[in-house]
Subunit: 438 residues, 2 copies
């Protein structure tokens, strides 16, 4: 996947590179504000950041896709309605509380949109809300409305970085990717580190462009693009109730070649999707599964997902243990449960370029074991450090490299292919999630 | 589920209770032997136990169900053939290596069966093999054959406990359950702690009875019983390539009431299934999800499975954190992906008897939060101890109690029900599996 092969040795180097990606396309400004509040369901002080993405003038050319979770957050319910509006003028995003199935949640989000519209001089309904964080709690609406004017007065260019930083929750670092398209550009930001196995859409992703792509084309391209990007990743197999990918054009730069725009959009989405996995909760190895010669694209993707979601295989990768038996178990589980008519007799599997399975049997020996361990170690993002006060935490706040544990599965009975990305299962994931709210 | 409400304060108390369960039904003997060997794929000394379950005379009345994984182990391939044989005389079980897709695996298992037959004076093909352990490695056949005579000469009664101990891998303690049926009994033993989300059958489970139930009834009853027992549990959502449940009658005690036998079989299977979850790898909380009023039994079970397999919810339970948002996320993920026509507007959910969700919104407040934390703490099996040399291990080798985290989901639009058991996701699970083989 990734269009780059970057390495960074510290946070400053990574930040310097992010700055090269972060120039806002013409016609957009961003503003953020951060404040204290106390959730009513579990009274204990907390901090929230409000992030505002504003267009200089409302646009008809916007697209969005949302989670398929049957309990969508209030902002997703509202977002689906916004797709019917003639124009969009701004996006208002909060972290810390996701506003999912909270009593009065839709009304709360609408009040925040209304106040944002009023401050920006927009029509009501031309603001898209997004929320991420704890599921089940209610938004502190009054506190948020009191803080909104600061976000509005902070609105500025030329960098999208304040927004990329404002929307994070458990992310270790902000995620920004760009691509040039003729005289214009596409710039995307993403947050998301846990509860990530998107279904149609994922996490919070905002794609801004100044290239004038009409609404209908924008929406069709976004739908086509997400299957091979955000729908092909899984950190932990959970599906967020808030997943949102929005694509907005300010229309400032005339479109040249639609195909060039779509390819640039694919690059930005794939790179951001991989960034999300690499910065997934507790992820110390990114696992890339390339499935070839499957009977259908859906089977290819399902096999890839089965591998990156198999807890025992994920743990083995965390320990740099080439327990390829668990990998084949995952394929067999998926086929046994959902594709019993699939012929697996020609299946071949490789890890790190080393053949581990073919002709129905494992192809293992001590020399291969040594090579596989070396491959796993080479793909490790950081070494797990001993816990402090019982809690494991990541030793890095930047992505040191873009290497992956490379798995190739050749099913041998079709022509379809898919590439799926996932992460290992580590002590850092458990520490992060055994007491995330407190 | 469980038919008992046991508590134990140490290993000796638990062992004393196991002894009360362990009397072999008439007509069976068990023998084990333990020895050193070196796997050829990763040369490093290892230990294996061979466990032999022998009938005093071969029986026509036996049943077995096996994994649905599409890469079944060689013993499963052979086991399916054995179902066609007129009689069964013995079961030979090894741990440490599961003999799955190893070159020459079927021939290796058949050689061990043939040698067992020869030593016991049986016809070839009347021995059922089972293997559990690392996937992908080959059995050390010559070493095993050299050790077999010791297992044969160890054959004895009156307790099944040596077999329950012989078949374990990462289990913390042996698992035995019994039920009286008229003048006879059913005694079951089980091993299995990880790679456990059975599909049709599960793990290694051997159910021995002296009650004379004809082959056809025995097989039908086993099929009916496993759905509500072994098919309703999940430790980690992985499906072993070796899952086997065998039910063998020595026919010594005339059958009275077939219904009484089936109810006793259900009790033994449900209790063993719960024992397996309670002793699951790293499990510190057993989670019991009772789904009511669903449109179909399969939807009810799928919702229960979705909850006990949601990594973020499992982590929250591990931390005694009542993050019920993650619970509802899991329901929404399942329905969004697989049951989009399910009306969730009447869904109600309770944890520990406390209502947390109804009418489409969460029902939370600080007093409920306190009650939920107390419920989670009350269901904890042991407190996580700091890691030693970076490795977390269980502080217990007995089940201190049979309490669960109790979750009730009333879907509100049907009459079907299911109860599903699972475990939390802990540092102990990651430690166990990040370097299990070494």
């Amino acid at each position: 996947m990734p269009s780059t092969n970057l390495t960074f040795s510290n946070r400053s180097e990574h930040r310097a590179w992010l700055a090269t990606q972060a120039a806002l396309p013409a016609g957009f400004r961003v503003g953020t504000t951060r404040f204290d509040f106390t959730p009513r369901e579990a009274p204990k002080p907390a901090k929230m950041t409000l992030t505002l993405l504003a267009l200089d003038r409302p646009t008809a050319d916007f697209a969005a896709v949302f989670t398929k979770n049957a309990f969508p957050g209030a902002p997703v319910v509202i977002g689906r309605r916004r797709l019917e509006e003639p124009t969009l003028g701004a996006i208002i995003i909060n972290n810390k509380i996701s506003n999912v199935c909270a009593p009065g949640g839709v009304e709360a989000s609408e009040r925040i949109c209304a106040e944002t519209s009023r401050l920006l001089g927009l029509s009501a309904g031309h603001v898209l809300p997004s929320s991420t964080g704890v599921i089940g709690w209610g938004l502190p609406v009054d506190t948020m409305i009191a803080a909104l004017p600061q976000a509005v007065s902070a609105l500025a260019g030329p960098s999208v970085l304040p927004a990329a930083e404002g929307i994070v929750t458990t992310d270790l670092y902000p995620k920004v990717r760009r691509a040039a398209v003729g005289a214009g550009s596409i710039v995307g930001i993403a947050k998301g580190a846990g509860m990530i196995e998107p279904n149609l859409a994922t996490m919070l992703v905002y794609l801004l462009t100044d290239v004038a792509v009409p609404r209908a084309e924008l929406r069709a391209m976004l739908r086509r693009t997400i299957d091979d990007s955000f729908n092909s990743i899984s950190v932990d197999s959970d599906t967020s109730t808030s997943d949102t990918v929005a694509l907005v054009s300010s229309g400032r730069v005339p479109i040249g070649d639609l195909g060039e725009f779509e390819r640039a959009l694919q690059t930005v989405c794939r790179d951001l999707a991989e960034d999300i996995v690499r910065n997934g909760e507790g992820v110390r190895h990114v696992i890339r599964v390339s499935v070839q010669n499957a009977a259908s694209p859906s089977l290819a993707r399902a096999l890839g997902k089965a591998i990156v979601n198999a807890p025992l295989f994920k743990c083995a990768v965390a320990g740099n243990d080439p327990n390829v038996g668990r990998l084949v178990q995952a394929i067999g589980k998926q086929v046994g449960a959902h594709g019993a008519d699939t012929d697996l007799s020609r299946l071949r599997a490789r890890m790190g370029g080393v053949e581990i399975f073919s002709g129905g049997v494992f192809q293992l020996n001590p020399a291969k074991e040594t090579a596989l361990v070396a491959h796993l170690r080479g793909a490790e993002l950081y070494t797990s450090a001993p816990p402090k006060d019982g809690v494991f935490s990541a030793a890095i706040d930047f992505p040191p490299h873009e290497r992956c544990v490379e798995i190739e599965v050749d099913v041998g009975n079709g022509t379809a292919a898919a590439t799926v990305l996932g992460g290992d299962l580590t002590h850092e994931y458990v520490s992060e999630n055994a007491d995330y709210r407190s």
